[in-house]
Symmetry: C2
């Protein structure tokens, strides 16, 4: 077996429609259309994270994205089932947070219980239809069949994340155009949707190899791939494209906060962990004080995305003091390889364009 630049380029042009088989992972909270535009214009597939956008914001971002590049791009939505508020659990959660509220002088009774992130729905489809994005990707499974059908009707291709072999098979059976194999190393939210058992989650090498054997649709490797060597490893394992998030966290066009950037560029980047304390769902971030003191996985945390509301004022006050100890510092394992470069340069580096090896 020989892996070379020419294989890499050839494989990309046949199915993804981009110059390079490199996808910038959608990262809600740390980027907007600007990063996606830069990546798409550089020959990768830029992604807009829509999970935290209002309908107006979605429309504005889609307008910016669709006019900012003539190249293919992707827009990403969450498709969780919004939970009912569980008052008892909310109380338990606020009790767990009480010592921090006291420390920061926060009046717990004044914190609104907000709705948090909304899943993809008819209203978001309505906004999206005007733009007919080349790719729509989903996290936490897929939306209801009528929504999926609607997205398909515009000609958008549909991608979704699998964290187990069963999830990959399920997604293929629903007719997705590509499966994103999200290895355990990946930063941000685990896309898991057929199980809540974290012991089922597979490292990138193991997941990618097995998903490639299990499905026929293209498989996109994600998780721990932050440098050119990781891209080559993914292609050796049969990946049809690579999705990199952490690699873009320090990009000039990313909106990553100064404390998040500082953590990514410190030895703290060597210890990331899965935690549910920020949103209610397991997600990988750099270990900080909140994670250490509440425990990484807290039984008290309300269901996703309800855990977020009670955390918001803590995060805001800590950040105002220059501290990231109460903020989700999402990052994958191998964050130390992330480069503070323009997104175009990061894309070219991951793609192996000559002269850009660091």
């Amino acid at each position: 077996m020989t892996i070379s630049e020419s294989n890499l380029n050839a494989s990309s042009s046949t199915w993804l429609g981009t110059r390079w088989p490199i996808i910038q992972a959608p990262m809600a909270g740390v980027q907007d259309a600007a990063l996606a535009i830069a990546v798409s214009n550089a020959g990768g597939l830029g992604s807009l994270p829509a999970a935290m956008l209002s309908l107006d914001q979605l429309d504005a971002q889609m307008r910016q994205l669709s006019t900012g590049t003539l190249q293919p791009y992707s827009v990403n939505f969450f498709c969780h089932v919004p939970p009912m508020v569980d008052e008892a659990r909310e109380l338990q959660w606020r009790t767990a947070l009480a010592p921090f509220y006291r420390e920061f002088g926060i009046d717990a009774d004044a914190i609104p219980a907000g709705p948090g992130r909304a899943p993809f729905n008819d209203a978001s489809a309505e906004v999206l239809e005007a733009y007919r994005p080349p790719v729509v990707s989903f996290h936490f499974g897929l939306p209801a069949p009528h929504l999926l059908k609607r997205v398909r009707s515009w000609g958008s291709r549909i991608f979704s994340s699998a964290t187990t072999i069963d999830e990959a098979r399920w997604l293929e059976a629903q007719g997705v155009d590509a499966v994103i194999a999200q290895g355990l190393e990946a930063g941000g939210h685990r896309g898991m949707f057929l199980t809540e058992d974290l012991s089922t989650q597979l490292g990138s090498i193991a997941l990618l190899a097995q998903v490639k054997r299990a499905v026929r649709v293209p498989v996109i490797a994600a998780g721990g791939i932050t440098d050119r060597a990781g891209v080559m490893a993914a292609f050796a394992l049969g990946a049809d494209a690579v999705q990199a998030g952490t690699a873009y966290l320090l990009a000039d066009e990313a909106l990553t906060s100064p404390m998040h950037r500082a953590a990514l560029q410190s030895k703290a980047n060597e210890h990331t962990a899965l935690t549910n304390v920020f949103t209610g769902r397991p997600a990988r971030g750099i270990v900080n004080r909140l994670m250490r003191e509440l425990g990484l996985i807290s039984a008290a945390a309300p269901q996703f995305p309800l855990a977020t509301s009670a955390m918001a004022p803590l995060r805001k006050l800590a950040e105002a003091q220059g501290s990231g100890e109460f903020s989700p510092l999402w990052a994958g394992q191998n964050a130390e390889a992330a480069q503070a470069w323009p997104a175009a340069r990061i894309t070219a580096y991951l793609a192996g364009t000559e002269g850009l090896q660091p």
Copy 2:
């Protein structure tokens, strides 16, 4: 970057002394010298697991190994600090196991509290000295300095496993000749020794990339590498050799039990997990009834290796009934790629010898 057969071969002959840069991982309980001999004679580095051998057995196995091959081989020891027996915890543990004792009609009071696995010590060094093995590898850190010095004095090269970047740096500072980067996908015991925090453990892609940047000694990739594609991926990430265990579990020369082989060849291989219920230390195996019912990580389990004694009669009776539900079915993630072949063929396949791609 281009990876080819020629790179692979060239890199091997320079440092490992074998024809191929492929190491068969030592697997206590499922193999003896026969597997190591077959691998070494096939051009890989065969390994004898010595952790569960008496001194007499060690001597006999070393004699068999050293006369069975003229090629380099390795012998592996654990180097944990033997714990004091904690009577309260032992009682708690036997209470947790009581329902299973009742089910199998076992008299709990008749179970001896055995010493379990012994670490590398002066007596084992005494046996080893007669053979001066080309490589001695350690798990759970390194033995005491005087023992390490003694092993070095014979000219044996010393390898040990790192599961974090800090462990890799520590091992290099102690002067090891190579670091085995044991990714989270790996089957059997985690080699972790500077931490007991499982959240610090890194997937193979992330660990290998970072360990390569952190140390100058050769780095051996381990964890989830069960097929040729995995080997190529490891080399893309800069590995100087690959250590594969699960890939050899179905080898003709392995002593893997029929129920273990059956589990490895069933859909059960898709769900392995880290558990401490078999020995007291976290190790990855195929999820079975004992793991499900006790919980993967049990606070009641005595310290390694003391948890083993109370489990022994359960395992023995269940196995006599053809059940592997109470046995450690050690396996890495990606076990489905393991092949029931002679070890020489597995070695040639992993090494990429032409004509042996399945």
